[in-house]
Amino acid sequence: MSEPVTIVETPIRLDFSYTPGVNASRFLRSIEQGRILGQRCPRCQKVYMPPRGACSMCGVATDEEVELSGKGTVTTFCVTRVPSPGLVPPYVSAWIRLDGADITSMFLIQECEPEEVRLGMRVEAVWVEESERKPNLGNIKYFRPTGEPDAPYDDYKDYV
């Protein structure tokens, strides 16, 4: 009777259906087809990937679609040496600026040693088999080095 109650468990669960939105839907359908569609801001000309339908700096709708090649440049990266679900350490996550995009996106880098990954390294997307593609970014398994010469620092200095 005198023991204080120190913990109360009150399980809470709510279900939602998430809607990506009109613009993100177009992007996800393009990903399903093995293409990467960004969107350009009509005011500041920045290209967003993934697009969200509005320029987060200008607050205007981004209607113009821009197809990106799937090649890009490593702007910064991290080597993880502790286990994570579904990943075998050491693995490399990198912020990659896709050619033609003005924001960076995070992907894994594989098919090289972690020690080889560096800022300015040129990389390309490796897609899952066509039959396995779904409307999500998991279609891009990882990025791998292209073997091209590194991008000059000026190309990505604003994204480091």
Binding site: T19, S25, S56, G59
Partner: protein, 310 residues
């Protein structure tokens, strides 16, 4: 009771826009909000650059998405960095913050907006999360059920005549936006500014058991502080029909024309201000009271007094 507060810097609603649909099928919150913001700003020839203070009301629980209110800033365009705030409440309470900030004297304009898309979740259950997390929320009393307790208490009191049954909780998606300006800036922006003469909000205890659900002392207090009298119209935020009876009584509306509506959760209160501004600026009303509510069974209430050009 002290004399109603007067504002040193009179604030007017100079523009507004709102959108509502039972269930938005494809657009996300940003896509739904963007045209509403541009409509409200565009009507008075403004852009975000002309706004001194931006504030919004919404609830991440309705979207099931942490920091959804931050993502909504994509629709605002916060660059160069803007002065911005957010309340996890109906947009009407964000409007209250904007009016206070406009009293400081360093900015003359404000943008207030609200958005919600509760059709993607289970609104009645989601609203249970706002209850006492130890003793009440684990029982999952849904919002309609709590409203039913209030309606029955009103019926039992015998003071309200026929008390209507409680219909299902209104589920609607939408957005609303208001542009505010101070003094001369307001009259330069529009020939028909709608002046906010007074505004107050009050809260009642969180525990439903200690409240008399057949009275609304928070509305009475707020209305007294604002000086609600001689109004010819009222725009009320009514989530269930029986609440209109309670509000009419607490506000002492007598012969005023009443427009009562729920609207989308977190948006409906701010939409009441947009509707009142439209009614007053068109000459349909001269002096009106606007009410907005949040929480279960009219727990929190905001009351404002609006006037058109004299």
């Amino acid at each position: 009771m002290s004399a109603p507060r007067t504002y040193d810097r009179p604030v007017a609603i100079v523009s507004w826009a709102s959108f509502e649909t039972p269930s938005e099928p494809a657009r996300n919150e940003v896509e739904m909000l963007l045209p509403v913001l541009q409509d409200a700003l565009g009507r008075v020839g403004m852009t975000q650059r002309d706004i001194g203070f931006t504030v919004s009301g919404s609830s991440d629980y309705l979207q099931g998405f942490p920091f959804a209110f931050v993502g909504a800033l994509d629709a605002v365009g916060p660059w160069p960095p803007i002065r911005e705030s957010h309340v996890e409440m109906d947009g009407a309470f964000a409007l209250y913050e904007a009016v206070e900030v406009l009293q400081h004297g360093d900015v003359d304009t404000a943008l207030v907006y609200a958005f919600a898309r509760p059709s993607r979740g289970e609104l009645d259950r989601t609203l249970s999360i706002q209850l006492d997390p130890y003793a009440v929320a684990p029982l999952w009393p849904d919002a309609r059920g709590l409203a039913g307790l209030q309606a029955q208490a009103m019926r039992d009191s015998g003071r309200f005549g026929d008390v209507p049954d409680v219909p299902p909780t209104t589920v609607a998606d939408g957005a609303a936006a208001l542009v505010l300006a101070v003094g001369d800036r307001a009259t330069a922006l529009t020939k028909t500014p709608v002046w906010i003469r007074g505004m107050d909000h009050r809260i009642e205890p969180a525990s439903l058991g200690v409240r008399d659900l057949t009275t609304s002392p928070s509305v009475e207090t707020a209305a007294g502080n604002v000086g609600v009298k001689d109004v010819d119209a009222a725009w009320l935020h009514v989530l269930y029909p029986h609440q209109e009876l309670l509000l009419r009584s607490a506000l002492g509306l007598n012969g005023a024309r009443v427009d009562a509506k729920a609207g989308p959760m977190m948006v409906g209160g701010l939409e009441r201000f947009a509707a009142a501004a439209a009614g007053i600026s068109s000459g349909g009303a001269k002096r009106a009271v606007v009410h907005a509510t949040s929480g279960p069974c009219l727990q929190q209430n905001l009351v404002a007094l609006l006037e058109g050009v004299a």
